[in-house]
Symmetry: C2
Subunit: 406 residues, 2 copies
Amino acid sequence: MALIVQKYGGTSVGDIDSIRNVANRVIKEYQSGNDLVVVLSAMAGATDQLINLAHQVTDIPDERELDALLATGEQTTVSLLAMMLNSIGFPAVSFLGFQAQILTNDAHGRARIQEINVDRIRRALEQKKIVTVAGFQGWTRGGDITTLGRGGSDTSAVALAAALKADSCEIYTDVDGVYTTDPNICGKARKLKKISYDEMLEMASLGAKVLQIRSVEFAKKYNVPVHVRSSFSEEEGTMVVREEKDMEKVLVSGIAYDKNQARITLTKVPDQPGIAAKIFTPMGEAGIEVDMIIQNTRAGGLTDLTFTVATSDYKRAMEIQKNLAREIGTENVYGDENIAKVSIIGVGMRSHAGIAAKMFSSLANENINISMISTSEIKVSCVIEEKYTELAIRVLHDVFELDKAD
Amino acid sequence: MALIVQKYGGTSVGDIDSIRNVANRVIKEYQSGNDLVVVLSAMAGATDQLINLAHQVTDIPDERELDALLATGEQTTVSLLAMMLNSIGFPAVSFLGFQAQILTNDAHGRARIQEINVDRIRRALEQKKIVTVAGFQGWTRGGDITTLGRGGSDTSAVALAAALKADSCEIYTDVDGVYTTDPNICGKARKLKKISYDEMLEMASLGAKVLQIRSVEFAKKYNVPVHVRSSFSEEEGTMVVREEKDMEKVLVSGIAYDKNQARITLTKVPDQPGIAAKIFTPMGEAGIEVDMIIQNTRAGGLTDLTFTVATSDYKRAMEIQKNLAREIGTENVYGDENIAKVSIIGVGMRSHAGIAAKMFSSLANENINISMISTSEIKVSCVIEEKYTELAIRVLHDVFELDKAD
């Protein structure tokens, strides 16, 4: 007998038939004698509808009230699932964030889980009830409803699995696992059986939208094995787990890409102490996240500075830098929206040299110019012209033999 | 400076424009320096939609889960109103049943309020916040969400007004007050300035659908003056208040009617001890409420029994009585669906004789036959043929001079 936490996303509970499909999966596990805690998202589209409703009221909704409004989405699905299970003879009970005692800080709209008191859930499980829990929401010590941000239900599930010391945490989604790269781009993309938390974090933050980043951080922190799989098939998905020795044998585990990037270059910036702070502080103040930064020193106390931002921040970032240029004495501010970031990821890089070089030469062989590079212990990212993205991915997938089984 | 509890029904918060109208009314009171607690229903139709959703899952939804689902309706409106108020510069905060600490028993779907801890509401009012509270819902000591039944938001408002010792409780609805009778039937119907709790209870239970009966019981118990008025006009509505001396001067305050009635007659029932129990116990067990009962003793140890039930229970009641007839020895079971109950109501009846007789003779003058009569301290009800309902109402309205100002 095991304690299993399952999480179903919005498309898995998109209508009554889908919820029936979820109920059947849940019952199957329950009938095998397992204890079940089922975390649900809102019906696909429901959260957006609620946000639209709020925006009919005001452009900038009060965050506390928006959270109270959005929380109705998951309240709907968890009560419907519990209702359905009860109606066919399986005892079930739904808990909202406050009933499941998911305590968060009070950062409305992006709250962080601080503590979960699982006493009430445990009592229900002891009574052999199936427990459905509203994902995405929590509450504060002050008794206010909070939400955890987009994809927050993943984090709810992993946090509950950690707090309950569950035997497994299964994230059901509309894809059947984590792939070596985007199968829509590379026909040879292969579903990974296993991936380490760190690799998953890089995959997630680099644009592979399978799990919310914070849920992976949570899983890593509390060592919760997460099984990402499809709610529409019986196939095994991908296990996201603690790094294992044999993972290092593989050089590269996956290739991520991000086309939502723009580059800004400042030329002939006077290279004085504090100049970087002068350039980047206004960006932070405007809420613009800067991703990669490179600096090339020129002769004569001058330097060129290039950095990337999200496409959606591009126009504001250009404006800020053009205004700053006069003050600082920058010669010119150039921008380019037609770029993409392609990254290879793998814990094997820690113990193998020459992987970055192999990436660079493979791209060079295809006449793909690399304009920026950034590296970490387990990834190498290159900025290239956007139009070469697909080609780059396919070339790298071949070179690092990602189509071969792990 | 006063503390005012306002309640707005479903049509008053039916869409964003209506909610804006509510916000404007609330702001007006707030700007006069008053403290405001605003209780809202779900958007018109929302509760029915949620019930439909539940019925897509199962014919008999688990009551606890249905309550959790239905509670989203009011959660939506209170957060939207608070959002709107905040967006135009008036500090507001929404509270759900559990946040407003509206404690109920655990009779899901028809829960009764047991206690309200108003500390949190008071703290918000002290901070000069407008408090919006989800009507219709509460929670149990065990931490489950409950709902109070149809029209429960009226009760939420009155109970909050009682707990907060509010200076007034205003119920905004789609009618502009309580009328002497249905204005659609009697053109001379007049809006009452005042009505006593007891009269209102009779009006409500006899078919005038303005306030939920339980809210009036609550108002009476805690002596909360309730102002029933329209959310679409500035006019004064009707005050529902404790009985006052001068109310007795008026003989009849209002005329109610109920066409949703059917009559069943059992002839030549053997008149033995326990026979009434034998006849009515199976009705109670089937959940059928019997309203009026009359018994005419015949010679020879036989009796005729006539009673009324709601039209919706008529067929089942007939079946039960026909089955019982053989067992008991009843000669015949007759039924009639084409009846109506017309009632005159007024606390003045307590101190004036001859009012019932005047009602009977007025109906007789119009050749309206009375088939059943029931009386209480402050009302007289007659069952008549349904087709005479409108005529009876108009005649009685004239005879008792209800068109004259109180």
